[in-house]
């Protein structure tokens, strides 16, 4: 029971990465490698702020802001200095590997002594859940799940509302067809900046939450996150089919949780955890190739 709850909590915390990738990849067609670096950056900044005794809510928001800046850096490289999308992300992520190590001071920092955001929610909800009949550890896990669920729900609602405003709609239009947005007076460079800032803020918030949930920050923890996010986005889209913006956001969250549940099942069935990232990459590859195989009568094409 507790491991199932924990799988849900983890899947929901990583759903913020999936939402970030939804924004960068689906709305802006930007395969944003920065995701790997900004996930770690969020974890590292949050961890350092927590161990310095900063309020956990502020520490989490600090991680989020750092991720937003990383997204801005990639957007500036691409939109204003003309560097290719993938390369812009690679450059920023490579630089972030050093930044993360310097900020954290060493490659791994435990948060055992720090009071985390999840501890705080556990302190608020735990006693009530125990009175309702849950065991102490069960109540703690349920409270953490509730906290992460609330944050993800808030993120979905805020994204849904923002991308339906004039500014958000113009950004979606620019991500879809840049010629159209420029012809209607929108600066697509500025939009890419805002889009990647939003995407990487979400990713970094996820990193901060995961660090607080698992009780440590590690400079390696972001590796493969962009592929994880894509897998979740694709899986979510496959679960619900074509839907409007709100449905697609919820589907992305569902995709992340479902993917985490599948991973947990695969591990229980005996998958060597070392193969997890390779398996994720294969899922994304299959999702990218399958539609072409189906529509081109067996011949995959690059374009």
């Amino acid at each position: 029971m507790i491991t199932l709850l924990s799988t849900w909590t983890f899947g929901l915390a990583l759903a913020l990465v999936a939402l970030g990738v939804f924004v960068s990849y689906r709305l802006f067609s930007f395969p944003d490698i920065t995701t790997d670096g900004s996930f770690t950056l969020g974890a590292v900044v949050t961890a350092v702020l927590l161990t310095a005794g900063i309020d956990p809510l502020l520490a989490s928001l600090g991680g989020l802001a750092a991720g937003g800046l990383a997204g801005c850096a990639t957007a500036v490289l691409h939109a204003f200095l003309g560097i290719e999308r993938l390369l812009a992300g690679i450059l920023v992520t490579t630089a972030l590997a050093s930044v993360n190590l310097v900020v954290l001071g060493r490659s791994n920092v435990p948060l055992s002594g720090a009071h985390t955001l999840l501890d705080r929610v556990e302190g608020l909800l735990g006693p009530a859940l125990v009175r309702a009949g849950l065991s102490a550890s069960g109540a703690g896990e349920a409270a953490r799940l509730a906290a992460v669920l609330a944050i993800v729900a808030l993120a979905v609602v805020v994204l849904w509302m923002f991308f339906r405003t004039q500014l958000g709609t113009a950004m979606r239009a620019g991500g879809d067809t840049a010629t159209m947005a420029r012809a209607l007076g929108r600066d697509t460079g500025g939009m890419t900046l805002a889009g990647l800032a939003i995407a990487n803020s979400l990713t970094a918030l996820s990193g901060g939450l995961v660090a607080q949930y698992q009780g440590f920050a590690d400079v390696q923890m972001g590796i493969g996150m962009v592929v994880w996010g894509m897998a979740s986005v694709f899986l979510g889209a496959a679960l619900v089919g074509p839907v409007r913006l709100g449905g697609a956001l919820v589907a992305t969250v569902a995709g992340s949780v479902t993917f985490r549940l599948l991973v947990a099942a695969a591990l229980r069935a005996g998958l060597d955890p070392d193969w997890l990232k390779a398996a994720t990459a294969v899922v994304v590859l299959a999702a990218l190739v399958a539609p072409r195989l189906l529509s081109r009568g067996g011949h995959a094409r690059t374009h």
Partner: protein, 270 residues
């Protein structure tokens, strides 16, 4: 009033010399004129439109529109004053957004896009009214992705979007070339109607000599980056598609003579 003075745009042709696509071209278009632009392939007519829209940079010369010097304005800044419809229906609309969401973006042209709801009730009513006035039935599709519309319908929505806020200049870049003849006719009818009703200044590039003869109150024939023919008033009204076809042939014969002369000279001096 659009004023282009001594405009020059060059391209490096692959492996060849610098080609002057627009070669010292000057043009004055008074407010309210509907100018049709024709020219052979590679004549520079699309580059001319791009130079006005800001997609290609003027190397020399200047451009003024409605009292502003636009020479150094970037593409999205010029869009405050200039409405555009492209040849490819997909270029002028965002496929994954609904018809109404596309119109919402157009409704913010020339203004800051703020944090207000994009698709409110007033915009919806206004959009339904304007679409129904041009193509009855189109207003029922406001909530469908614009990618589900036919090419012709999409061009008509793009026209409505480009003119939602009255532009100082409307640029139409072969906007019926990708459509079947029936759809092209409907788009042309909508174009003429919108230009007339709003009293717009418009520049329309077309491949169709029939359209060029029938539409507009002035005709420009562009050749080798310059204006080879500029007719308006009664002379424009008398022009037929056959007259234009003859003009084209004459230009082509002139080119061949030029090429032949150049070869002869080259052979004589090598």
């Amino acid at each position: 009033m659009l004023e282009l003075t001594d405009a020059v745009v060059s391209f490096a042709s692959p492996g060849g010399p610098l080609v002057r696509a627009v070669d010292g071209l000057s043009l004055a278009v008074p407010a309210g004129s509907f100018v049709v632009v024709i020219g052979t392939n590679g004549s520079g007519k699309s580059t001319l439109l791009g130079a006005i829209a800001g997609t290609v940079r003027l190397e020399a010369g200047s451009m003024r529109l409605a009292g502003h010097d636009l020479t150094r304005w970037r593409e999205h800044q010029r869009a405050r004053l200039v409405g555009r419809v492209f040849q490819d229906p997909r270029a002028g609309t965002a496929s994954s957004l609904t018809v109404l969401e596309n119109i919402a973006v157009a409704a913010c042209r020339g203004r800051r896009a703020g944090l207000r709801w994009a698709t409110g009730r007033r915009l919806r009513e206004e959009a339904a009214r304007r679409l129904a006035a041009i193509v009855p039935g189109l207003e029922t599709r406001l909530d469908q992705p614009i990618g589900s519309l036919s090419g012709g319908q999409r061009q008509i929505v793009t026209l409505v979007m480009a003119t939602w806020q009255r532009p100082e200049l409307l640029l139409l870049d072969e906007h019926t070339a990708a459509l079947d003849p029936a759809a092209a006719d409907r788009v042309i009818q909508a174009t003429v109607r919108i230009i007339r009703d709003q009293g717009l200044t418009a520049l329309m590039v077309t491949h169709s000599l029939a359209q060029a003869a029938a539409l507009g109150d002035r005709l420009l024939l562009i050749h080798r980056g310059r204006v080879a023919l500029d007719v308006d008033g009664p002379a424009k009204r008398r022009l037929t598609a056959d007259d234009l076809a003859e003009r084209f042939d004459a230009l082509r014969r002139g080119d061949q003579l030029d090429d032949a002369a150049a070869r002869t000279l080259a052979e004589a001096y090598v």
